[in-house]
Symmetry: C2
Subunit: 381 residues, 2 copies
Amino acid sequence: MRGFDDSEFQSRTERAQSLMDKAGLAALLLTTEPELRYFTGYLTRFWESPTRPWFLIVPASGKPVAVIPSIGAALMGQTWIEDIRTWSAPDLADDGVSLLAETLRDVCPDGTLIGVPDGHETHVRMPLADLKRVQDGLGNRRLGSDNGILRALRMIKSPAEIEKIETACAIAGRAFHRVSEIANEGVTLDEVFRRFQMLCLEEGADWVPYLAGGAERGGYTDVISPARPIPLRSGDVLMLDTGLVWDGYFCDFDRNWSIGAASSNVRDAHAVLIEASDAAFNIAHPGATAADLFHAMNQVLSRHSGDTGAGRLGHGVGMSLTEWPSLIPSDHTVLEPGMVLTLEPGIAVADKILVHEENIVITNDAPRFISPKAPAELPEI
Amino acid sequence: MRGFDDSEFQSRTERAQSLMDKAGLAALLLTTEPELRYFTGYLTRFWESPTRPWFLIVPASGKPVAVIPSIGAALMGQTWIEDIRTWSAPDLADDGVSLLAETLRDVCPDGTLIGVPDGHETHVRMPLADLKRVQDGLGNRRLGSDNGILRALRMIKSPAEIEKIETACAIAGRAFHRVSEIANEGVTLDEVFRRFQMLCLEEGADWVPYLAGGAERGGYTDVISPARPIPLRSGDVLMLDTGLVWDGYFCDFDRNWSIGAASSNVRDAHAVLIEASDAAFNIAHPGATAADLFHAMNQVLSRHSGDTGAGRLGHGVGMSLTEWPSLIPSDHTVLEPGMVLTLEPGIAVADKILVHEENIVITNDAPRFISPKAPAELPEI
């Protein structure tokens, strides 16, 4: 099923309002794509355009209020949102600022506090000068932190959300399964990237916002570079890491292949990565922490390698390619049923790195792989 | 050629520094993808992940200084940037804040002003709470506006940049030319979207960040909705609008097709759109303004239709899908050689709309179409 029942948005909104009440917030002011979509279902690739700001206000009770450019009115009108206020954007004199301030004054009593997501992984998607103007237009209402409410809500996925992420994972799994059709000795890496995105689309992806990878002898130098027109050679390890989207939800996992026969070093390293992600998987129960998963993997990895520079060994995934929490020693987020995580151990092999990634969901019982789990043995093409 | 010679980045930096000098700025602080890439050539799809902030400082003289997560060090090390300061991100206690403040204190004398892009089409890509912490860590240096310096620089494209945009346009042109291979009566619109993205990749796109469109009887309701699984029917007007990327540069134009025979209303409307974009093209010389182009198109359109709600009739395009200026009555930006613009007239036909879009470059002489110009006659499939 595409989209969600209205009851899903109702429930998200009520949970937000309950947390807002505890935090003493009269409203939330939201400006980024996943935040708006979380409460409305408003799904469009138009956010690629940086021109227009978009605003959503979650009031203390009742449905959210949209304050958006007129170009979005028709699509927003198809969601469960009823109060949709628009202006003709771009407006160089007043790009939604007065309309937003006026709406916030309508919604929030005098002297109240309005929460804006302001912590890790957030930003305010509007011009800084306009944010100051909005603040000046609020009378004695103040903008403050959302106290992590958005993070807390989005971290726990509903069954319907998990289904969408699983659909994305299954699509990527089928595309990965077909990589030997497109990647062979002599094919350039940029051509592999292009053809792999085509496979993802052919297997059902709506679009492919993210693809990274590498292919060098015995590993790769990093995992974020664009693909270069360099032919695959025997002895290369090819890695493809995709965040494809189905109905607005991401998967995020990778696969490795050896072009021709793999060295024993590389084969061993790949087996260690699988051992590491299994170690985290095995303890990924409610009550364990993000840091626990890090340590479970790191204990396996530290027997073999130095730091890859990645900064973490996994993270949340959902409406965004990467979400809270981070699998690092200092993230003590307690796992709860409904969290969807990537396990992403990396290892240094001589002067190269290897990275492996799976997607799992935390349940009341054992966790579950939602990416089709890779075998310990590195496949050869 | 992929990438740019270092001299391109040198020249961009020197032009920035000359404008900074006039504006009394000791440095620019940049946080978003195109801003960082403009001065460094740092090209990666990793920005899809919202987790980590990235910073670039353009000092009053000398090369820019990168303050970035360690995961980006290897790739940034391949650019012309020499001073690369990294931290292991994400760091929940201090996610680059101290390192950034320290670097700004190094680069900027006491009592100086640091410019941050803060006007239309900008945002600061870092947590709001961290931005305040950085400000607090600067002593008596202050963060202020960049005075539109980034906008002014990026609006005028170099010959090498124009070449990349033209390459993207040519790829999209070839993909549009093949649409009859994938779009026929009975094929669902979401399948057309999927297959069209595959055509773009097959024709050479690095990736396809943006695809919008519609297909309904006699036009479409809006141009930003995701594609639904509804079969094309005879009498539908199919529109596809793509922003695909080659080497980090976008094209942005669309094409319309009639599925089966088009009504005379629809044929006439399409011809009016072409007449409108031609009217703007014909006056798109240095010295004319963005508003002049709007009025040239609007004069043709207003003989026929009401407002489509789009808010403008074209815009800049380059490293982002949409850039300054906007073709609206209040944008008096004077055209200069090197600007790349979209002409995007829209028209209402009964309760539907039709939109047409071309990409042009402003030169010292006549402007030039860099999208393969659509014929006035609406093609039928």
